[in-house]
Symmetry: C2
Subunit: 294 residues, 2 copies
């Protein structure tokens, strides 16, 4: 078993993802132009979750003002569809992403959600919200970075718990898309599969572990927050999965900041997990081929 | 290994789910009143997918006409939220589900999606669409029912392929919610876990099988239809999963009818899988406890 408190374990991180994780707050492009309201935000590929989070402060489509299109990439042309631009009507279309035609360049990256969201918050006059997010992420970082030993580091601890197990993400309904975002981050950084439940999750938990609960990979239920649904899920899953892990609610103001804290915490845990498996936590190389193909 | 062409295998079906599968077309309540347009349809619990499918012919909310609320159940009171009824404004609210206060009773059932949708199509004047769906489902049934031997029965064949494996559902984007609906049906009838990919799936397929592809349960990628995305997914997954299965596009007119055919096919396959595991395919008993608790 590799030791997350030993320096040689970090040699697997050849592409230096640890620096991107550490320096996430404040990274990415900032607006240099003024964008007229009202605002629409639609997202494809990598940009899907940032666009969903933007529902907090912008609509999906607008025919006046500014229509932001998070192109993401790996989208097989979804973002370039004629219908989309027709829907924008008289709005100015601003494309963010890593395709050649993007007005704002955001490179493909497992942490790009933060950078899309930061640009959008600044461009739409929500600087205070961004500051709340950044403060909360910096607080998280202080507990999660490699210099903090296992004893005091919840992300390292989580990585050991997830090792050789398949996570099942149990997320409160007030965080739209968070379960899928965790699944994606865990896949791209931790290089491992995990399970998100369907929308009506409680009966899924009751039934879907009946036939095979002693076969295959042990499941670890990762429970976020603490609401009524989580307590039911916990009661149901307790006797059906190998292990339960509870992620306590982050010290952050507002749903948006809390959602990003959870995501950042799982990104760090996925990073440590990749190191435990001895695989590269970055994904530039594996994705370059896909980027060229699509 | 149990034999799906042998009568004794069907003894595990104590609750008679085979009859519900066989008699699905035409089952469920029909409207006895007239409902004024325009129509809104919102869904919770079990009703979530039917409400999503209804986006084809109704909006989510309406403040005039009729607001249908698919209560589903197991929703911890989500459907009863005061905000929802305030949003309905001057619209008549019609509740469908299995709670005491429902105007239209639809009992909790792994196949209830069809019944919710059938009622909505009839109540909103879309009889022709329902007929297209029913014709397509009856065609599917002729190939999928227990009397058709393994050689000619794609659902029995699929069940043997899924046995002792974990399915990963790869669904074209034009079928919103279908992957989650298959996951739910496979859980409730087949009593087994399966995996749905996040919205931006291609990079997930590339990365998330890197670390552990030789451990745990073998994954079977179940690929629906035949579009560009499916062909990329197939190319990526081919070398990364244990087996690939392709589900050919159903003989049906329109996306809605095709979506229901896929779902019906996986429901039959889940039924046969439960029999192969020797577990009860019905879920009334296991869910009764949950229904009372919530």
């Amino acid at each position: 078993m590799r030791d997350l408190d030993a320096q040689e374990t970090y040699l697997a991180d050849r592409l230096g993802l640890a620096f991107d994780l550490r320096d996430l707050v404040g990274s990415g492009p900032v607006p240099v132009l003024r964008y007229a309201p009202p605002y629409g935000v639609v997202g494809f590929g990598e940009g899907w979750w940032a666009a969903l989070l933007a529902r907090d402060f912008a609509s999906e489509f607008t025919t006046r003002g500014t229509q932001f299109v998070l192109e993401g990439g790996y989208d097989l042309g979804g973002a370039a569809g004629a219908g989309l631009y027709a829907a924008a009507g008289g709005a100015e279309v601003v494309r963010l992403g890593f395709r050649e035609n993007a007005e704002v360049e955001i490179r493909a990256h497992p942490l790009s959600t933060y950078r899309y969201l930061r640009f959008l918050l600044l461009a739409t006059g929500h600087k205070a919200e961004l500051e709340r997010i950044d403060r909360a992420l910096l607080l998280e970082r202080e507990r999660l970075r490699p210099e903090v030993g296992l004893e005091k580091n919840p992300a390292k601890f989580l990585a050991y718990t997830l090792l050789e197990r398949t996570p099942l993400w149990v997320v409160p309904e007030r965080y739209p898309g968070l379960a899928q975002a965790l699944q994606q981050t865990f896949g791209r950084i931790g290089k491992s599969l995990s399970i998100t439940p369907p929308p009506s999750a409680l009966e899924f938990f009751v039934t879907s572990l009946e036939a095979r609960h002693e076969q295959g990979d042990p499941i670890v239920a990762v429970l976020l927050g603490d609401d009524e649904r989580k307590r039911y899920a916990q009661e149901i899953l307790e006797s059906r999965v190998d292990t339960l892990v509870e992620l306590p609610e982050p010290e952050a103001e507002g749903t948006l900041a809390k959602a990003l804290c959870y995501w950042y915490r799982v990104a760090w845990a996925s990073y440590y997990l990749a190191l435990l498996y001895g695989v590269e936590p970055g994904d530039w190389e594996v994705l370059e081929h896909l980027r060229q193909a699509t």
